[in-house]
Symmetry: C2
Subunit: 334 residues, 2 copies
């Protein structure tokens, strides 16, 4: 028969709640009791049962992670970061793929509530009021990564999307391009869509290139949609010589479209991406792009959830991390 | 106060174990009792608490999934399949990234044991005796996906790797190539490495091309390693006109290498991949490849775990699914 917390308490001659405190907040237990408990745990080879532990402490030592699209390569870096932080902090990680489906996401919040996960990292999706109400109602602490909310005071970690987009477009302008297009995220269902568009507009405006601001088409997260958007963009504005794509998937879709039309990248058209996915370095041509620190974003988000879970609040509510321009082969001077 | 299973039993006038059976094996409960229990659940708006449920039924309604490398795009299709099956079957899914690290994997088995997950899907890694012993010792049912074991009787779902590799190489031969190379998985740490090599050898032998069998270099799962392996292969055998790559990542690494050396694919060298990742259709050139039904493999693996969990055994121990040659643009006639 497996030893229980009761057996440990009995052997150590202390109460069950003391054993619990030794495991969860050892500093609150006097040294003499603490060492007796630790000795009993070792002698009995006691392994806490997470169900029983859940009932006693209302902690499951599990974090949940919502990913909007597990097939989108962007999230793999975030997942690694979240998971490595979980390993360091002693949590198991339960990853769920929501497919940006409201009903599925709401059902997962119920599942996480039922499993009493200690906290949730919510990756790069919009926070709709239904989500906020359900998450708040469930009293599970949560943190946004690659996302933010100005409507609610939810802790978040992301880059400065507007500044990053500005840097990308400024780079194209510095290469001598004046006829610049953009393939952006639909604004209705994307948190990064509006600020990246603002960065595009700001760079063009500052440089007196207002005439090219209207050359924007939108796509929804997938390569294939960007391929179609590039088709529309070039059919309408064949004079374009450079394109700012708000995702590396979009850059690949755009280059794939141009290649199918025998338009050479970067000889005839320059394409800059966003994200710096692993694949951007294996693409033909290798993508010039804006790097997001996806691993660090994920790692920091998990740390912030831990901060919330253990202290009830966070030091910095909305945190920004640095982006970086990575120059490879998909852009050249006009 | 939230209603408990006790409240439901009381209102329905049945025992707690009857309520449990209504929720988990309704066919075993007579209709009259079953409808009383369902009415009580509805009236009390009873939501089972997974911790309490775990203690009572020793079931957590959670499956675990081990992924060897969450950044490898190959796994996203498997994850989606496993997860969609979990949704259908009523399980939450806990995904863990092992990085092919033995100690981490063993620690995760402990974590899953502690959380009493009902079953585990173990994706495409070798089953070392330590894993098998720990998993068997923990009495968690488990199923292999994109992997198998002949040493142990573990249920598995995969494609026929040898036949798939044979088809890839046969295709290159039918295009007129006689100087064929291969970039394979290291045999020590890959379950698919040896059978894919055997398929390569079989196709060449059948067609009288034994002289080209030795043209093989190995890489370990990542694009960058395949880039280096392609460098070795072409330095040693510059006469090669076609390459069989055992993964689309390897095909991209190889094409990236050739492109950096100004060798055109497919004009000068044909490259065939394996997997049919989403990215294979966005690559330049679009990859000709062997498609694996990754979504179906994942879905079926989760169904098999469920079969094991609910019946204690599986109908078919080692299951094979079909592969398919997808002809795109990275190969052409010699």
């Amino acid at each position: 028969m497996k030893p229980t917390i009761r057996d440990v308490a009995k052997m150590a001659g202390v109460s069950i709640s003391t054993v619990s405190r030794v495991m969860n907040a050892p500093d609150t237990v006097v040294e003499s009791k603490r060492s007796r408990v630790l000795a009993a745990i070792e002698e009995l080879q006691y392994q806490p049962n997470s169900f029983a532990r859940g009932l006693i402490y209302k902690k499951s030592f599990t974090l949940g992670l919502f990913i909007p699209d597990i097939e989108n390569i962007y999230y793999s870096g975030i997942i690694r970061g979240v998971q490595d932080a979980c390993i360091k902090l002693g949590y198991s990680l339960m990853i769920c793929n929501t497919d940006r489906d409201k009903d599925r996401l709401l059902a997962y919040i119920d599942a996480f509530h039922e499993k009493q996960v200690d906290g949730i990292v919510f990756a790069s999706d919009m926070i709709f009021p239904e989500y906020y109400e359900k998450l708040s109602g469930s009293r599970i602490p949560f943190v946004l990564v690659s996302s933010h909310s100005y409507q609610y005071d939810i802790p978040s970690v992301e880059i400065d999307d507007k500044a990053a987009a500005y840097d990308a477009v400024k780079y194209l302008i510095e290469l001598g391009h004046t006829e610049i297009g953009m393939i952006g995220f639909n604004h209705e269902n994307s948190i990064a869509g509006p600020p990246r568009y603002e960065g595009f507009v700001q760079a063009l405006t500052e440089c007196g290139l207002e005439h090219t601001i209207k050359r924007v088409k939108y796509a929804s997260h997938r390569f294939e949609h960007a391929y179609d958007a590039a088709d529309e963009l070039f059919s309408e504005y064949p004079e374009i010589t450079a394109i700012f794509c708000v995702a590396d998937e979009f850059a690949m879709g755009t280059i794939s479209y141009l290649n199918d039309r025998n338009i050479s990248v970067p000889d005839q058209v320059s394409v800059i991406g966003f994200d710096n996915l692993r694949v951007s370095d294996m693409y033909i041509p290798k993508l010039t792009t804006i790097a997001q620190p996806t691993y660090d974003l994920g790692y920091r988000a998990a740390e912030k959830v831990h901060e919330l879970v253990t202290t009830g609040s966070v030091d910095v509510l909305r945190e920004k991390m640095d982006h970086e321009l990575i120059v490879r082969q998909s852009c050249r001077e006009k």
